[in-house]
Amino acid sequence: MSDSNTKESLEKISNGSPKPTSPNADLKLDFASFWEYSPAPESSEHVKIDDRYNHFINGEFVEPVKGRYMKSVNPATEEIICEFAEGTSEDVDKAVKAARKAYEKTWSKLTGKERGKYIFRIARMIQERARELAIIESIDGGKPIRESRDVDVPLAAAHFFYYAGWADKLNYAFPGRKPKSLGVCGQIIPWNFPLLMLAWKIAPALATGNTVVLKPAESTPVTALKFAEICRDAGLPAGVVNIVTGAGATGSEIVNHPDVNKIAFTGSTKVGKIIQKSIAGTGKKLTLELGGKGPNIVFEDAPIDQAVEGIVNAIFFNQGHVCCAGSRLLVQEGVAEKLVQKLKDRMETLIVGDPLDKNTDIGAINSKAQFERIQSYLEIGVNEGAEMYQCSSKIPENGYFCKPTLFTNVSQSNRIVQEEIFGPVLTIQTFRTPEEAIEKANNTPYGLASGVWTDKGSKIFKTGQSIRSGVMWSNTYNKFDPTSPFGGYKESGIGREGGLHGLYPYLTF
């Protein structure tokens, strides 16, 4: 190496540049020029979506009292899929009355074993209709069929199977205590995992002997209405499960209905706070699963190639529409350059496009509103001085698609580091000592989920004890199981769903 080069790189170092870049930094791996995968679309011919859907109240589909309807859009094509009823206070009142009647007349009178039979039956019927449900989930919500087929639907069925098993064992779950059901539960779920969130809500509620009024999100109501068909076909007693569709106003009617005993909400922290305020002093029980800004910490002794895969699963799973997404990458300085290089290579192989294609890794952003929100955050990031990187892969012209995005050169005070973006956008920060990593990880109003990557077991436990979050994954990310409790610290929520812990919010002692 010539003297001038050496001098230059020495200057760089003294100027605070992290390290001289490796001599082959300009080497490019080419993933696109040869052997492109042919389209492999999942056939949706056998799937039937009606033009119009009504509320499911007291075991039957009924038209909304005010006769108003809203439209559900396929985010990948921007085409209207169907109309669905807009719930008003009258509809909600009907649903709550039906749920109350079912609770008092039938459901609370059944033995746990009998309730369990119904829930097992629902679980089996979800499995039987798995392909149909997966396809609808992808059409309505834009998520890739690979995920709705392999994650959403099987996990939803697993939740029903799991809680069906608890129905007749509640007395053993809480030895020495007498668990009793609450009554009518109002449940409001988000659009990121429509059927799965429904399962998280309805399965424990039914197992513990409660009846429910559930409102799916206004951008993804279809699988909930298909689930209503399953309840009907399963012969579930009328009124035990009621589904009222609509937007925020409908949800507010459920929250404020005087005859509801419990509210379970999954969604944004902003709405969570409104709900908490409005039910203060009413005696209604409450669980909230809210936002997150999950730190994903990679130590330099981590298995780097597997960590890269874990980072991809943490932030690009479901287009980043995941409350527990690992949206803040914290990587130890020594391996940062190498890791970011590998991450960029990996991002080149992500296929963004038709949610129904079996090879699609990243589908469509769920709605126009969310798409615009993500775009505005990309602008904010650039204006804050962060360096943006997007993969070079093509995205479809129509529909709401966003390329997977990295931001480097960010600081803790940036909005893109502090606020939940809920899209395929990752910020990358470096750290030097474990203390610094933990401090940065905890410096957020959220505390839902986090990840730690290291080859050293003791470091996993030490870090895990110091991070304030409800879930911590080690050497993996975004793994879910019905037996495992899930929930947040701080502004990420109250209460736990899943596992034995998920029974508590639906019981009184």
């Binding site: 042919s38 298995p303 190639d305």
Partner: protein
Amino acid sequence: MSVLTIPDFNQTTPIDQIGVEERVSRLNKRSIKKESKLQALKLALSMIDHTTLEGKDSEGKVIQLCSKARLPYAPMPNLPHVAAVCVYPNMVATAKKALQGTGVKVASVATAFPSGMAQLHIKLDDTRYAVSEGADEIDMVISRGEFLKGNYTFIFDEIAAIKEACGEAHLKVILETGELETLENVRKASDIAMHAGADFIKTSTGKISPAATQPVTLVMLEAIRDFYRDTGSMVGMKPAGGIRKAKEALQYLVLVKETLGSAWLTPEWFRFGASSLTNDLLMQIVKQETGVYQSINYFSND
């Protein structure tokens, strides 16, 4: 700054086996249909090292093998020929003669294959003999016993010596991953082999079970990628043993495409060491071209 950067092989690159298996299973979900399938089947055919490594091998059998290698399926003369035939050193001359002018390479195992349990000078002689008989490629085995002892310098020096003995011939280094057992060992052996001058790294002899597996192959491909990033030099990859079905071959190609990219998707940089894979690929190609499956009886067993 030193240009020569040989890593400290006593350091271990951490590898998480569960993570590797998950990555493989995700890559296996790629759905290869229609034109991309036909293209990949033909590509896989052109990447085969058509192999016979038995004590009972005869010249007649090797000649048969070569004629299959040259023209895998007579009714479709436009199909690509396989990349190479792979034989024992004493069959190299026969194969070389049978393949003259065809573009099919002759590969020979050497270095006291498959155990490698011999003195270095014997291994060098074995190698020089195969090269003098006309081998274009040498498939050597590493001394697994020395590796497991932690004698990494020994492994490095041995490979470097064989590489020298190869002269113009390409060197493939067989790690025998079934005997190394852990993925971290696989990674370390790959790194040693590449730094010592291997042109290809290869999973297995085919004599030990398990032979090639996809997790092992993925770890080796990632080692090749890192080596390329560090040095700018490409190294080839050859999974060998146990790959019998066209579907598995396509899965391996997906691993290569999404780990190393398009540049490695040629017989120059990727090979399958296999014997029965050829006929399954042919069956699938005929199915794709004609729409119907032929019985296995229509494909010659060589």
